[in-house]
């Protein structure tokens, strides 16, 4: 079986593509609840993701085929199909917030004079372009955008650090455990990155210390997000909850920017470029599941998956406040369940099942 990915590409995927989608609305949403404890809420989510990825990796590292192939092999086609359907819904829901964030961002900052939903529609062409390719495209994207993303992060952080009041994060824990956990809970739609790892396990060319490399890259990705949130809160303190588009906000207070105008838009564009591919991920994996479990051709599947979010944007924009509340409040439990709890539990059960089958095979000789 030809492996689609390399370990390096999985590492780059976590470092380059995943953090940037958390740089738009998420920091302001969390800071509205956790205040200066924003970083603790983010840390909790990162730890949950890390635990899930760690468990899935440890349990399934020696297997061929990804999580869904193993589910079908161990628990039957019907169960696998049900799981796939749930994950299609999971990924479709996961597209809602980032899609709206980037659309709003483009309309409100770049096309302020003539905001038009059709301006944003070309993004769907790019999403479909990504979706019609095999898993290898994710690896190639990771390779391609790494440098762009790293330049974006480096510039953004360098511009933001001088104006960050790190003492604004004090006192630690003043908002109370309840608010910190609630902040972590409502930000679930932006996390649960283990769901992507379910497609990678068993699908990469194995080498030495793969686990260490993947865990280290995930840790780096988590630290990038935590550090961004710290910079964001340290920049805006008591008005952080009102800064809906953190990405454009945090770098503009540097003296250099005051004297030379907004050259920080260069790293912002770099990160926006990366964010578009980050946005395409849930579309891609939902398409992949439809192709594999429902026998739909990839091109058609890509269109089918892109339709509901596109319809939502085109015809239901006036309901977005309600949709946002639903996604961050009600659906967060669903994200947590199938992004973290289920993969962790299922990987452990699979491992036990595989060990049992292995023993039986050994006994049979």
């Amino acid at each position: 079986m030809i492996k689609q990915l390399k370990t390096r590409q999985i590492c780059f995927f976590y470092i380059a593509i995943l953090p940037v989608i958390k740089f738009f609305m998420m920091p302001s949403v969390i800071s509205g609840i956790s205040g200066e404890d924003i970083w603790i809420s983010v840390l909790i989510n990162c730890l949950l993701d890390f635990t899930a990825i760690f468990t899935v990796y440890i349990c399934l590292k020696d297997q061929d085929g990804d999580f869904f192939t193993l589910t079908e092999k161990l628990f039957g086609k019907a169960f696998a199909k049900t799981v796939a359907t749930i994950y299609i819904a999971f990924f479709l829901l996961k597209t809602v917030m980032p899609l709206n964030e980037i659309k709003d961002y483009v309309e409100m900052t770049l096309y302020i004079t003539s905001p038009n939903i059709f301006t944003f529609m070309p993004v769907f062409a790019l999403i479909i372009f990504v979706c019609v390719h095999r898993l290898r495209v994710i690896g190639r994207l990771a390779d391609g955008v790494l440098i762009i993303a790293l330049i974006g992060y480096a510039f953004m952080f360098a511009l933001a650090i001088p104006n960050t009041d790190f003492e604004a994060l004090l006192p630690v824990g003043a908002h109370g455990a309840n608010n910190i956990i609630r902040g972590a809970y409502i930000s679930q739609p932006w996390f649960n990155d283990c769901a992507y790892f379910l497609f990678f396990t068993g699908e990469y060319i194995k080498g030495k210390k793969d686990g260490l490399k993947i865990f280290a890259s995930f840790t780096l990705s988590a630290l990038t997000v935590i550090f961004f949130c710290i910079l964001f809160y340290g920049t805006f303190t008591s008005i952080a909850f009102r800064q809906r588009f953190a990405l454009t906000e945090i770098s503009k207070y540097t003296t250099v920017i005051n004297n030379t105008e907004r050259f920080d838009y260069l790293p912002i564009f770099a990160l926006l470029f990366t964010a578009v591919f980050s946005l395409a991920l849930p579309f891609y994996f939902a398409t992949d599941l439809i192709v594999r479990f429902f026998g739909v051709k990839r091109n058609l599947a890509a269109v089918i998956i892109s339709l509901p979010p596109a319809i939502l944007l085109l015809f239901f924009e006036e309901y977005f406040a309600t949709i946002e509340t639903f996604i961050t409040q009600t659906a967060s439990g669903f994200f947590l369940l199938f992004g973290t709890v289920f993969p962790t539990a299922a990987a452990i059960v699979m491992k036990i099942q595989l060990v049992k089958e292995n023993k039986i095979e050994i006994q049979r000789g």
Binding site: T113, S238, I239, Y253
Partner: protein, 416 residues
């Protein structure tokens, strides 16, 4: 062949992507765009806001640079409505992304300023790093004034707000973000420079602001002024058209819960910037030093300055310790037969040192007294209490000023 197709597709993609994210699909006609460099907001008698925007109008000729200046006014019940009114009545789209200055008129002295400034912190149309100042007069008057410092009055104003290195740090600069951060903090305190207009001519030859600005009425709600040169003559009157007004920003207005509660004069503002900002390269005068019956004056330049504030909190109250250590040199003196030259590494005479220290101790003490009197926590005592003494926060959050004790220590050193 396939590779060539991929390359072409990549080039097309990159081009479209660049155009898309640089708003080239959303470009508006530049001739219908008003590039706003500053706005002034005034409160009308009917409770509505009058927003005057100073715009840079691109001209085909550069023979008369005064043409670069013009004002448009709009009126509305909210700031957003007033800005919209400018566009609706003039046909120009008000482009605010180059607006670096917001002037608040004196009519807002008893008004909660957040009602107007909140718009600027929420909208993405203007950067919230734009500076905010309060005018001692109507805000629009500052924009109409002609000044010898720059063709565009708001640019002249910005020169004294954001001073270059080497000049005195005597302005308590404030931008949209810092004002709103202060307002929404637990202390609800903020500040901004209070702009005074200083005429360089003597009283009898001083022109009024109106005659210098040259406003012409335009529609019911909007007025369009013809720029500085409009009424004060064409290029031929270059000397007169330039005007004589300069701005003074060394007074600071203090705000509590958005309302003006007090002021810091020039001395206190200098002491405040010494405590909060970079005080190096600033100068200050030490006047009337008694030396053998002779009153002498000195100008001291600060070469390095270290200011610190520490708060100790106990059940007995809050103690604020302020200390300022600065290394200074005498730049000038009116002492006769003086050997005190700027370039010479001479020690700071003890009588100058003592007088400078006592002067500055008094200024800082007055600063703390002003905080106590006005209730405006511009010294961030409550913030410090919350961040570093959280266990006492609930005890003192409503009465920290009543329980405040303080001590001030100032140490100036010269060449040793």
């Amino acid at each position: 062949m396939k590779f060539k197709g991929v390359k072409i597709a990549a080039v097309i993609f990159a081009t479209v992507f660049l155009l898309f994210f640089s708003n080239d699909f959303g470009l508006i006609d530049i001739e219908k765009t008003a590039i706003i460099t500053a706005v002034a907001i005034d409160l009308e008698q009917d409770g509505e806001y009058k927003l005057t925007a100073q715009i840079a109008v691109p001209e085909a000729t550069d023979t008369n640079t005064e043409n670069l200046r013009a004002q448009i006014s709009g009126k509305g019940a909210t700031v957003g409505a007033a800005i919209k009114n400018i566009g609706d009545t003039s046909g120009w789209f008000p482009q605010l992304c180059f607006c670096n200055l917001i002037i608040v008129g004196n009519g807002f002295s008893d008004y909660n300023l957040i009602k107007i400034l909140d718009y600027f912190s929420k909208t993405l149309r203007i950067q919230d790093s734009a500076l905010i100042v309060m005018a001692e007069t109507e805000g629009a008057e500052l924009l109409k004034l002609s000044t010898p410092l720059d063709n565009i009055s708001s640019f002249a104003l910005q020169k004294i707000l954001l001073k270059n290195a080497g000049l005195n740090r005597d302005v308590a600069v404030c931008d949209v973000k810092s004002f709103c951060t202060g307002y929404y903090s637990d202390a609800g305190s903020s500040y901004m420079p209070l702009i005074k207009v200083v005429s360089q001519k003597s009283e009898n030859e001083k022109p009024s602001a109106e005659s210098v600005g040259g406003e012409n009425s335009g529609g019911e709600n909007a007025s369009v002024a013809g720029g500085g040169s409009g009424s004060s003559g064409s290029g031929g009157e270059s000397g007169g058209a330039k005007g004589d007004a300069i701005f003074n920003a060394d007074t600071t207005a203090l705000f509590l819960k958005g309302k003006k509660v007090g002021e810091l004069d020039a001395d206190l503002t200098l002491a405040f910037t010494a405590l909060t900002g970079d005080f190096s390269t600033s100068t200050f005068e030490v006047k009337n030093v008694d030396l053998g019956g002779e009153k002498l004056n000195y100008l001291l330049t600060v070469f390095s300055c270290k200011a610190s504030r520490s708060l100790s909190v106990s059940e007995n109250g809050i103690t604020l310790k302020v200390s300022l250590d600065a290394y200074v040199k005498i730049s000038d003196t009116n002492e006769r037969f003086s050997d005190l030259e700027y370039l010479k590494n001479l020690p700071l005479p003890s009588y100058v040192k003592q007088r400078a220290e006592s002067d500055f101790t008094e200024r800082i003490t007055d600063l703390i007294r002003t905080e106590i009197e006005t209730g405006c926590d511009f010294l961030d005592i409550k913030k410090e209490l919350y961040r570093k003494h959280y266990s006492y926060y609930s005890t003192y959050k409503n009465n920290f000023i009543e329980n405040l004790n303080y001590s001030v220590s100032v140490n100036f050193t010269g060449q040793k």
